[in-house]
Symmetry: D3
């Protein structure tokens, strides 16, 4: 199985020892992004993966590519051009003190400067079976939007399985009208087979007025010929945090159990869920097994530092089999 992901790469700076930015000058750097996270997890599940992106043509770009290779992802579809890489700072949370993310300029990044026509999508798709596109590309700028759309179209025409992750964040789109954003998503969805998102993405962004969850997903999947629609959500009860997921396919919603969360670093939880679902679909597992596996992958990822999950299938199955109660492997 050969999976290509398209998306922005970012530098993440994590403040040391659970301190806040004003408290420490010590940072640990990592290379992240929805595509990186998803492929890292899939590579650790044993699949061939390749990232299509643009990195700056300087030591930062080389560092990022080295990190990407380290995660087990091929760098053959990486283009080196320009000078900037988007970045963000992470202050880890503790109890009632939330983890905090502060973004630095993404729009001047090499990725955002790249025109859709400068990618050779045809060539990148040779031998690829699954293509993953992160919805953030629709929010960044015209270039990333066009590139994402073009890739979806080309991949769809070549009968690749196209996955798409809503990844819709208000804060990234404060200056864009609701109607504009809605149209952008509506434009790409017809080329997509597997969608990751939430109920709220359908009602708030796409303006579906259906309250019944099952009917809502049915209508959405019907409208855009979506084969699979999946998503995760978090809940709170008695001071504890839980994580659960759903998978909608052929008019049926499958649901996972809610599993307790013990968070070290929350970022990338959705990507970990998505890569779990993709692995399950690739392997043709039972849908409930897929969800159990995907939630387990995300639970483990949230109990680990950094965005990119690096758990093998055996690691995830170990969690499933021991119900997360084992606290020592040797």
């Amino acid at each position: 199985m050969n999976i290509l992901a398209f998306g922005e790469v970012m530098l993440r700076f994590t403040v040391a020892e659970k301190m806040m930015l004003e408290q420490s000058d010590q940072l640990t750097m990592s290379t992240v992004g929805t595509g990186v996270n998803l492929l890292s997890s899939l590579a650790h599940f044993g699949y061939k993966t390749s990232l299509m992106t643009v990195l700056p043509d300087n030591p930062i770009g080389k560092k990022a590519a080295a990190d990407i290779r380290k995660l087990g992802i091929s760098d053959h579809n990486i283009i080196y051009k320009g000078k900037n890489l988007g970045s963000f700072f992470v202050e880890l949370g503790q109890g009632a003190r939330p983890q905090r993310v502060t973004y630095q300029d993404r729009l001047s990044s090499s990725f955002c400067m790249m025109d859709a026509d400068d990618y050779d999508f045809e060539k990148a798709l040779v031998g690829v079976e699954i293509v993953h596109i992160c919805g953030i590309a629709l929010s960044l700028n015209r270039q990333t939007r066009n590139a994402a759309l073009k890739l979806a179209q080309v991949a769809h025409e070549r009968h690749k399985t196209v996955c798409f992750d809503f990844n819709y964040r208000m804060s990234l789109n404060e200056e864009i009208s609701h109607e504009t954003m809605k149209k952008r998503y509506q434009k790409i969805l017809p080329f997509v087979d597997i969608v990751f998102g939430s109920q709220r993405d359908l009602t708030d962004l796409l303006d579906y007025q259906i309250k019944d969850e099952s009917k809502l997903y049915q209508e959405f999947c019907h409208d855009y010929s979506i084969n699979f629609f999946a998503g995760s959500k978090r809940s709170f009860q008695d001071g504890k945090k839980y994580f659960e997921g759903f998978l909608f396919h052929h008019d049926t919603i499958y649901r996972s159990a809610a599993k307790e969360l013990n968070i070290l670093d929350r970022i990338g939880s959705g990507d970990a869920f998505a890569s779990g679902v993709l692995a399950g679909l690739i392997e043709n597992w039972e849908f409930t097994d897929i969800l159990e596996f995907a939630i387990a992958n995300s639970i483990l990822a949230q109990a680990s530092m950094n965005d990119s999950p690096i758990f093998s299938k055996a690691d995830v199955f170990h969690y499933v089999d021991t119900e997360g109660k084992n606290d020592l492997i040797r």
Copy 2:
């Protein structure tokens, strides 16, 4: 609003990675003290703050002053003299293993060597509306005791609002008789408007014999013409830890709800509460809102490394509004 605090500055050495002193040589240093902590929090709430203290006239003193400025506190009232700064070591706790503090000599510090007459309190009070005095000065030595008392008196005469924090610690006063300590506190209280302390401070230190909490506070406030008396306390239930506070004013006790604690570093919890109460009094909030805010500030501070709270009002309100359930801000 312009707040002046008077008190000792100390170096804090925190052992790395939750290790104990015998286990590691790696320390992280920070500059702390009740005055520093309180003003740091008030500065982050947006008020003008200034610390009156004595630091050694050497690289350690300069380092401490740099840290104090970094926290947003003016260093204009700092005097550089002598050679020593008090210090303590912190071993962070985990679960049933308590956080441990080991003090190193405080009595030979520059602060303790300074005579009351060598401070120019009059000048320091120009433009100041609130003065905060830490009760530890009453335990250290004659010089600090006299200086605290003199400042309270001068500030009171100039109609400043004088705040005083009992901060009474048995371990600091092992060689001083109960009667002596009691008299010291009784001497300063008549100049004070706002007092931070606990029920136990009144019964055990000041020898009040009243069991009813409300009547006790009434009597105490009446005896010394105290306008506000506030304090926090911690409790345990079903293996969980909670934190709550009270505010007594005009014969009424206001109480906060008990909020669950998830501690990273407990030191400074009282200072965080006190600065929250002061902010609320400055802003004339409802008393229950003041307590909710002050407890939230302290909950956040205890979930953070180091003694000095650095939360903005928005940070604290965010905790209040989300009931501490949000675990990611971006």
Copy 3:
């Protein structure tokens, strides 16, 4: 009281900041092993301790010996020979993500290369009252097996109290038949006075068919003239982890209460329990007090970094007295 332990020393490499091996190049090194852990704890309780082992005759061996001395253990019975020291990597766990231990070659270590006859056990036993032998020596190779057996025999003949810890791990013995392993344990047990192990060690390894726990221990202690048999175990309830222990003596099982665990680093929990039991037996405490103390020592050890407990008796009693609710000592 003078205690000698015999066993392998290992280097432990802990990955920094709760990261996994693929995520970080930063390691913290420590010197560990069942003998080291047990003696470290006993030395911190105030007893004279000495480790009998073999370390490589190079800077690694000197580093290990320095660490051993630092823990308060005498290095006079350490032999320097050969070049290698066994080692393992530790990735700390978080919530549902288990702590993971990966061993590197132990069999080529200086300790495993040493013939039984090259030790001067007679000399080492002079002035010693208690000898502790770790059962792992039975699994490593012929040399360590013979040395352990010989020491047990010699110590028994000289009327020393001989302690033995099953420490049986399947993973270390994959290529050795059940019968072979069973015989090895059966061979050493007749020389032993105090045994640390579990119900499962008796049923699965020694093939006892008795289901009733009390009768099982009775039979076992009778068969090998064991004076004390003790062990600890962990349990899970309502998402919480607990730790408890038992001590069998003269036909009676004594049991501790189950105490809640909050784990920072689980390794060495059994050694912490064993050293607590030994301290109690040395001091002739009530059996229930011994168990309370031993469980407390292990709870604290599991809430601390590294394998070797460094708590004084006062530290452990503090936990017992405050029921683990105190979270700040100053």
Copy 4:
């Protein structure tokens, strides 16, 4: 003496332990910039300093402001607006391996987004005697260019001493024609009293054709009514590195001796020299003493980590007095 500097603030990320970016994820962050560096040094010489700049209105901006205060610089003239702060990575050098700087996007920074008219220069200049403007503002974009020019003009009209640092870097201006850059510098110079630059700045950027250094500086200072022109340069001899400086005033070149360099971190060497010269001019020292002091300040700065010099006058004099031969102060 009260000095205001205007200029961009940047985040600096230094790779740990002299590693290169591909080799390590550990970074140490610091807050730098020509204005920050110069004022840090002047503040440590005992002068009142204030930085006029724009920082992002988020945790990064607050962190930068905290660092600026820590260096002893007033933050009262800092404006918080926008979201981005320019940054660069530093890989420290060793011997023949050069220190390497990689810039990340500066043009989308809060500072570059600020219109000249949005600054209240009049207010910022109240009480100020010396104004320093960094020439990089002429290269960044229209907004920074206009702001720098306007400030120079306003300060000149109010009879402030205006300092200007060429700080001309080819690499920042690859897409701007020589003539355009030349005109920009020619436009600001008439408002300037003290200029920091090099012979090459005059010949290559301003197109002076004079080969004789003395005549060249004479002509330049005459053309723009410059009172002082100063600069530093580095040289190599017999495998050693040297640093020296000149100061031109009233038709005379004063030159320092060349002092041997032992570099830990080269960045900020020019700012350290400039602040030394300014201190000397403020104190009316002999010109040769000024140069000796300024070179010493820069030698020390290059032997220290980070861009911002933090040496007191006493520290610099100590180097001068001991001829840099003392290697231990206690």
Copy 5:
């Protein structure tokens, strides 16, 4: 150009902050080995590289493979089997205090356990033009010796360019007779085209009695049909250290100038030289240019942390062009 290297991978543990093992518990880990170092450098020069080796089938093996990919080397020819990886500790030197390396067991490593017949050399050689074999394989054990020999033979038969590095170390062969070692080298040399070694390797190991360097190399290359023989050496003069190299081809010795060394970390200097020579031969540069480039690559590598050079051709040319005098790139 496609280069395959065969050889052992090792974990390197470097003690932090130039401390010695007894002084610190902080280590930085890296993945090294002659093959890794050489391919890392060649990959950074822009060539396709692949490492043939055996890594343990556990988290350590995965970590090592991740590091290898990070360096730009393909992991497709890595076999995962067994449990152990050789390792060594590095204490960095300073001035007269030498850098110190302490090896831990290599002979029980997965690499040493692998039989020659278990490698699929034929498959690994498809598409490969240059094969590099490290001579250490001849010293380790029978398996590695046979594997190295078989690969040399197979590659030679398939007309690949075979490179061989003597890498002869007394300390690794203390128990093997001189004659035995000599025969091992004599057995592999007939299959080799390019040899890296020293004059001493020929006289002391292979027992050549020729004193004239030129005639010696002529005889050696003639005896084994060696096309290129190259090597580097270090010298001392007036308290300074120098590094230089030679290349022998068709009866002519080419020599580089001696370049001054400023060492941060000496290990891997020979591998850096060898990869420079290989790059030059691949590009058909003048022999003196090749040597200048190879020495420059090694000078830079010795001024950097860790064994594996990560300099691009541009980096090396920059050193050559600036004669190593530039100390800042931005």
Copy 6:
């Protein structure tokens, strides 16, 4: 050989990565002092050593004792009493930037609080052959002065070899008159056999008026029946630093060659020299060999982090034999 040293123990806090105190919060802690340093070196040379001192009876004291044991020094003569330990901060130097030491209060330390009569010197001297007393005890306070004097007397009476190190520092004695200090030294010298000091100690402190070095030492040794007088000094030539030593015995001055210094951390250089001299005297080496060895030990110590030398005799001989030119041991 059994050596007892008497003296103050101090905590040393070294700022990380060659930063200055204002630049970093990261410290590395170590346990030092003239006695600790000297015994550490002698223990690493293979002698039995024991430190007589007082440490605080709290976690800091236990940490210090653990470090002392780690260095190979017996802790049996350590008394635990009081609460404070003297400390100092170290900012490492670079080139012309000197290393800087800032002391924190020593006079309130447990060591300074201890009366001479509270030590059991008789018992501590059992089995001891050499006693070392650090002259700093004469400067601290009455208690330490009396204790040092009493120990010298008792040891002398019991025919132990008494060593004494002038260690005279102006900065420690600013408030004590020259005559007072002189008398204190004159009082202890009659009990001493081996003295470490400098020419200046004799002329400036003891007021000898003799200019000829040889005659000066002759007179001094004669006056106090000193058997050996030894010392080291540093010099500068052509930008390089050198270190050399002398040993005076029976009217003859023996001198070492001056060896080039490459300093990482200068503190403890005198202690390293002294322990080298003591080792040589113990072993009855030739006087020139003793000096060569002692200088080598100090050169190595100054090229290492921290005060306490940890070089074996083999390490020192290696430097002597390779003339400090070897830069890699493996």
